[in-house]
Symmetry: C2
Subunit: 229 residues, 2 copies
C-alpha cells in the first residue's frame, strides 16, 4: 500500500482522502473494542485487521505500530467521553448538579481506563507523546470553554481560576480512576469518591452559590490523518 | 524449596524466618531497580535472580509470579517514598512550606511512576488487588496521621476534612504524574503543576492561616511475608 505517486484529478484526490479517512476510522473502531477488552498486549495486529475487515498492512500504513494505534484509539475515545460528559451536564440548573452530571458521565466511560493505559504506555514510548500532549491540551481547552459557557449562561459565580479547574478535574479523574480500577471499584463508587474529594474544597456556607469544579469536553472529535497522527 | 515439614527448635525457626525475610528483601531490592528501569515486560525472572544472586525458583517460591513481585516491589517503594516525603516536610514552619516540601519530595520519587505502572497492571490482574488496596489504605492512614500531628504541634487550623485531604493528595499526585510522565515532564514541572492545582483551592485572603492539603507516609515499612504477600 504505497501512496499514489502520480498527481490525481482533484475529485479523485478527494475520493482517496475520504476512503482513507473511512478506513482509519474503521480501524480505530475495531481496535478500540478489542483493546478495551484485552489491553495492548492481549491483541494482535492480525486480530484488529480481521475485526475491521482490512489487511494488517493497512494498519501499519495508517498507524505505523500497534502501540501508536492503541494510543490514538484511546485519545479519540477519551475526547468522545469528554464530549458526552459535557452533553450530559448541559441541562443542569445548579453548579452542584452540573458537577455531579460531569463526574458520573466521565467515571462511567470505559474510555477513561483505556486512556490511563495509553498514558502508562507512553511513559516508556516517548515517540507517542505528542498525540497525548495534544489530547490533554484539548481536554483542558474544551473543559475551560464549557465551564465559561455555563458561568455566562447561568450567571454563576466562581472563586476558582477556570483554567486551573479544568486541569484539576482531569488530574483528579485520572488519579481516582487509576486507584479505583486497580482495586476493582464500580464506576458509582469512583464517582462518589471524586465528588467527596471535590466537595471538601467547597465552603459549606456558600455551597450552592459557587461553581466548585467543572470541566467539559470536545464536541468535534476528528481523527483526520492530518491532525491526529 | 518446600517449607520444612518437621517442627524445628525455636531458635532454628527464628533463623529460618530471618533468612527468608532477608532473601525476600534482597529479591525486592533487585527487582525494584530493574523494573523501574525497564518496566514489567522488559525484565525476566532470570535477570532478577541473577541481580539478587538467587535462584529463579526462589522468586516463584516467595512471590509466585513476576507480576506479583512487580506489584509488591512498587507498593513497598511508594510507602518508602511517602515516608521520605513526611520526613522532608517535618521541619516546615508554615502550612505552605509543609505542602511544598511534601509535593516536591513525592514528585521527585521514581517510586510514583513505578506504583502507577503497578496500578495499571492490577486493573487486569485482580488477584493482585488486595496488596494495592492495603497500600493505598496505608498511604491514606499515614497521611492522615502526619496531617493531624502537624495541625496539633503547630496549632494550625484547617477548614478541610483531614481524611479527605489525604485521599485527595494521593489521587492528585497520581493523576498529575500519570499525565506528566506520559508527556515527558520533569519532576519540577510536576511539582509546580500540583502546587498550582492545590493553590487554586485556597482562599487568597487566608492563604497562610490554613493548612491547604496535606498527606504524609509510612515510617515503618515492612515486607514480612506474613503481612505483605
Amino acid at each position: 500500500m504505497a501512496k499514489p505517486q502520480m498527481p490525481l484529478p482533484r475529485h479523485a484526490v478527494r475520493a482517496t482522502r475520504t476512503a482513507g479517512r473511512e478506513m482509519r476510522s474503521r480501524l480505530l473502531d475495531a481496535a478500540s473494542g478489542l483493546f478495551k477488552e484485552r489491553g495492548v498486549s492481549g491483541v494482535s495486529i492480525a486480530e484488529i485487521a480481521t475485526a475491521a475487515e482490512a489487511f494488517p498492512s493497512q494498519i501499519t500504513y495508517y498507524f505505523r505500530s500497534k502501540e501508536a494505534l492503541f494510543v490514538e484509539a484511546a485519545c479519540r475515545d477519551v475526547l468522545y467521553a469528554g464530549s458526552a460528559a459535557e452533553e450530559a451536564a448541559a441541562g443542569a440548573r445548579t453548579p452542584g448538579d452540573y458537577t455531579r452530571a460531569l463526574v458520573e458521565s466521565v467515571m462511567r466511560a470505559d474510555a477513561l481506563g483505556f486512556f490511563i493505559e495509553a498514558l502508562t504506555l507512553t511513559r516508556r514510548r516517548q515517540d507517542l507523546a505528542p498525540l497525548i500532549e495534544r489530547t490533554i491540551e484539548r481536554l483542558h481547552a474544551e473543559g475551560l470553554r464549557a465551564y465559561e459557557g455555563q458561568i455566562e449562561s447561568h450567571g454563576w459565580r466562581s472563586r476558582l481560576d477556570p483554567a486551573t479547574s479544568a486541569r484539576r478535574f482531569w488530574a483528579l479523574a485520572l488519579g481516582i480512576a487509576l486507584e479505583g480500577h486497580a482495586t476493582g471499584r464500580a464506576s458509582e463508587e469512583l464517582a462518589a469518591e471524586m465528588l467527596r474529594v471535590l466537595d471538601a474544597q467547597a465552603d459549606p456556607n456558600r455551597r450552592d452559590q459557587r461553581l466548585k469544579l467543572v470541566a467539559g469536553a470536545s464536541r468535534n472529535v476528528s481523527s483526520d490523518p492530518e491532525t491526529s497522527s
